[in-house]
Symmetry: C2
Subunit: 312 residues, 2 copies
Amino acid sequence: MAWIGLDLGGTKVYGVVVDKGAIRAEAKRRTPTEGGPEAIIDCMAGVVADLGGTKRVKAIGVGAPGLIDRKRGVLRHAPNLVAWLDESPLGPPLSTKAGAVPVVLANDVEAGVLGEHRLGVARGREHVIGIWLGTGVGGGLVVRGEMYRGGHGLAGEIGHTIVHPGGRKCACGGLGHLEAYAGRRSMEQRARDEAAAGRHTMLVDLAGAERMRSGIFARALEAGDPLAVELMDEAIEAVAITVGSFNTFLDLDMIVIGGGMGIRLGAYLAPRIDDQARSLMFVPNHPVQIAPAELGDAAGAAGAALLAAGAH
Amino acid sequence: MAWIGLDLGGTKVYGVVVDKGAIRAEAKRRTPTEGGPEAIIDCMAGVVADLGGTKRVKAIGVGAPGLIDRKRGVLRHAPNLVAWLDESPLGPPLSTKAGAVPVVLANDVEAGVLGEHRLGVARGREHVIGIWLGTGVGGGLVVRGEMYRGGHGLAGEIGHTIVHPGGRKCACGGLGHLEAYAGRRSMEQRARDEAAAGRHTMLVDLAGAERMRSGIFARALEAGDPLAVELMDEAIEAVAITVGSFNTFLDLDMIVIGGGMGIRLGAYLAPRIDDQARSLMFVPNHPVQIAPAELGDAAGAAGAALLAAGAH
């Protein structure tokens, strides 16, 4: 039997078929930005069809970017999916449209970290942290080879690590959090504020009124745009502080840098984070490896399929 | 059968007998400050005799304050044991003097956290961090009900969490570590520096040329000594930042404040840490409990006995 995994993102729905512990097929479609939850669910069912349908599929796993109710299959709140409506069901209607196979909802970052742990760069590692740099910053932890969910299912919020007490304001209202320095949304806000204050930057030239995507940061960095470099340096420092502290306490085997920015800029970010984080660790030459995710956009979908396989 | 646990501290050797999952007897002696490792081992054997000897005892566990080689039973480095010599054997000679029962060495903080988890305030909790405030600051982590040692046996160094990047220098050379704000040695240094700069404080009046023990901080705090309050506020803030970040990522059931300062000042520290840490957590009203250790000086000895029971 096979399992389908879908990663429901703000810009695309990415799908994979996982069978015998490997990715067998991939497909993607653009996430609709209007038409409500029905349009989004239709799009997901379309990706399932692109993957060959559900004849040999035992279950579908969905990594969703927001607050989920696993039991009822409801995506409660998903600020990055503009067409979504709070508290709308996702699992049951997708199941109906996709041939009545069971649908399992999961957190998208948890799915991504699991994907990289089982099929990606962290294969076979016992103790792993994933830091997912995207619109915000999410995280996941593998302990003794198994995903760790915490005492109340709330683990993984590494974006709200306090890196600079009293520092820059985070979207959550807290001060000095990792996400306020290393989340794409916060970096975009900072770039636009600086531009509004008269500083010239390619970041705003390239983005215009559109979202300042990871690819735009990549192009500005390549061109040596000073503000892009400065913002990225602050992000790298904030991630390095987080990595230094967590690895000193948790003595990990690997730290994976993933998420949209991690995928696009991992080759730039990972060695710089590695370099700074090591100088902050208590144990010199600690054997932990700091590596960019290697499955790219497929990580979240693969992890969602594995979560579905664990449940069905 | 029973197990004996010894907590080898800079000022005293504390011993317990653990039988059927409970502490059955306790004894203590002052740690000699001269006479070399032999004097210290004689003192430990004396505590074993005070506890009734080893007739019914299957093994002795020792929580030691330093770098240990478990396999060879060597206490490699123990800066707080003035009479100790680096790289001296501890397990084999203690075993010989105590009736040839096996001796198991463990880290003292790990033993203390285990003691509080199995027999103390954190009984029955799944996911627990212990923060041991002593001369330095140590830590321990329980995941899924079991002690967590990390990928290379190096986990637990919570004292080297970066709470104020670029901040006060830690004994390890790092900047802005928790231990630089909340470790007794660092707080003593700060008090003496302030006194040398002309500031009056009871802390130095009470300590004179002797070590500024936790009891001295307790008396100065009670009397409202402004520097004692100030140092304690900084320590509380540093612990709260650590607790806020780690609980946001790890979603714990309980955080235990232990160690020499935690035992002596837990009733003062724990509610203040709780109050500040909660305001720094991502999830409001998180169900984690922040509590002072409850076994007092017996925690480390009890945990050492339990570690010996796990090995023999």
